[in-house]
Symmetry: C2
């Protein structure tokens, strides 16, 4: 039995890559060749065809980046939006990623009271049919809503700590009477709760989500939480750059992965990669993933 | 166009009922006649049969309580746990509830950054095939994660404010520098954000979840937030009673619904309703719903 966090850290080192490739199929960004625009005129009537197109797209992206990343992260909302066919595509995408020996981080930000959190854990982390390695969760309900996600030590959970969106500040930055902010208190709470789930690498199966768009906070939180592994979203489309995320890693360049979704999936739409052409979207994605991987390794050197 | 919150308030008054019937199919509590226990020995292999049993159970519960409640609230985790067949049962359950003219509150506690929250809103509140009236959400990401759920004014969102679980206190009760607790700050935040979405009844399409298990807090929060409608969970199985929830209503007995899931669905397992027998689980559920409805109306008189 190997702890989730040790599996993750090992795969990162094998591939020498600290990126996480988000699989967020924004339908209006898919190449016309994959998804005919007219299908989007009636999303509900065409769920099946659209979901099939998304699966094709995802498989090609996975093939293109599989040797370049340790982790892929499908964002559930984009699949749930396509109803039952969308959920089928989600499960098939995750199963396909596993055939490529990738770690799957399911981005669902699930949360509920203990007995219900347990049902979510059964749904995603304790099943045998498809190995979903880890899931994102929301910590607002406290420990009894989090611990069920840690029952299976071969799987892990990433709890929101400081998110990457502009309005993150509204609640997460409120000042507590003891001088900490809410997100710092969430950080201490996650570190303490996760201390019973430490892998050999020194990090815990209870990881955290800390946005790249707030570099000052990222640096502080890294210093505060030396046993908490970070998923750092917000790179690329949301505005974070390689130098912004350096502070999220420990001094050995460990302890974090940086996610990019749109920046990799839809690289073919950017001027930099436009020469590939829309038909070669997967090659453009590979080039973008490779560049991101190198940029991060570079700032950590 | 009628605001969600006005539709809800009207239905509550028509039925003279302030209850919400949770549809949380705890598999090990289903009657043997509906679900053969041996199917549970391999949940993943038998997803289809189990999901079919849940649908039968739900339809019978809905038939039994339809004239006794304005709202039903399926808890997504219990359906997601059954994979694709479970999601089919969820959608079929919601469609069936709509044929009975019930308001559907989908309990998924979804949350994400703005563009992704928008995808969840499209998935559940902006579709035409099945009318899902409202959804529960988690407010931790702030306004840009909440506003997409309010785009369709005929639909509503219930944001977590103070949850009913024992560990709710861990983060929600932290003291802020300004003297408020985190949950009070969340309350003020939700009230302000929801003030642009007020229905004719004076309440907002942005409602809140406030547990019945903390009556003191419920009273305070009601006084603080006079335009925020409450979903009050935690009645029954989690320990809240009718006198505990009185404080969640305004002086006209408006502004809240009280949820019970296990206490109604599985009433046949309680001594009080055991005389119905397991085969008459729906009659037992009806009796429990009727009792709860009356008890609440009684304390509000």
């Amino acid at each position: 039995m190997k702890y989730f966090i040790d599996q993750l850290q090992q795969k990162i080192e094998e591939k020498d890559s600290r990126i996480c490739v988000g699989l967020d199929p924004h339908l209006n960004l898919l190449p016309e060749k994959v998804l005919a625009a007219e299908l989007l005129e009636d999303l509900e009537a065409n769920q099946k065809e659209i979901a099939a197109a998304v699966l094709t797209f995802n498989k090609n992206i996975i093939d293109a980046v599989a040797d370049m990343t340790a982790v892929v992260k499908p964002q559930m909302a984009f699949y749930e939006k396509l109803g039952i066919p969308g959920m089928e595509t989600l499960w098939q995408t995750m199963a396909y990623a596993k055939t490529k020996d990738l770690i799957v981080l399911l981005d669902g930000k699930r949360n509920d009271i203990g007995s219900t959190a347990g049902a979510y854990a059964e749904a995603y982390l304790e099943n045998k049919k498809t190995e979903i390695d880890s899931i994102t969760i929301n910590p607002y309900l406290g420990s009894d809503g989090i611990l069920p996600f840690l029952r299976n030590k071969e799987r892990g959970a990433f709890a929101l700590l400081r998110t990457s969106n502009p309005s993150a500040v509204e609640l997460q930055d409120l000042k507590l009477a003891d001088g900490r902010t809410v997100y710092q208190a969430v950080g201490d709470f996650l570190r303490d709760l996760g201390s019973d789930y430490l892998g050999e690498c020194g990090y815990s199966n209870l990881a955290a989500v800390v946005g790249a768009t707030y570099p000052k906070e990222l640096k502080e939180i890294r210093a505060q939480l030396d046993s908490v592994f970070f998923l750092i979203p917000g790179f690329g489309a949301q505005g974070g750059g390689a130098s912004d995320i350096k502070a999220g890693f420990d001094s050995y360049g460990r302890g974090a992965v940086v996610n990019s979704s749109r920046g990799i999936n839809f690289a073919y739409r950017k001027e930099e990669y436009a020469h590939f052409g829309a038909d070669n979207y997967a090659k453009a994605a590979r080039a973008a993933a490779e560049k991101m991987k190198k940029e991060i390794n570079e700032v950590l050197r």
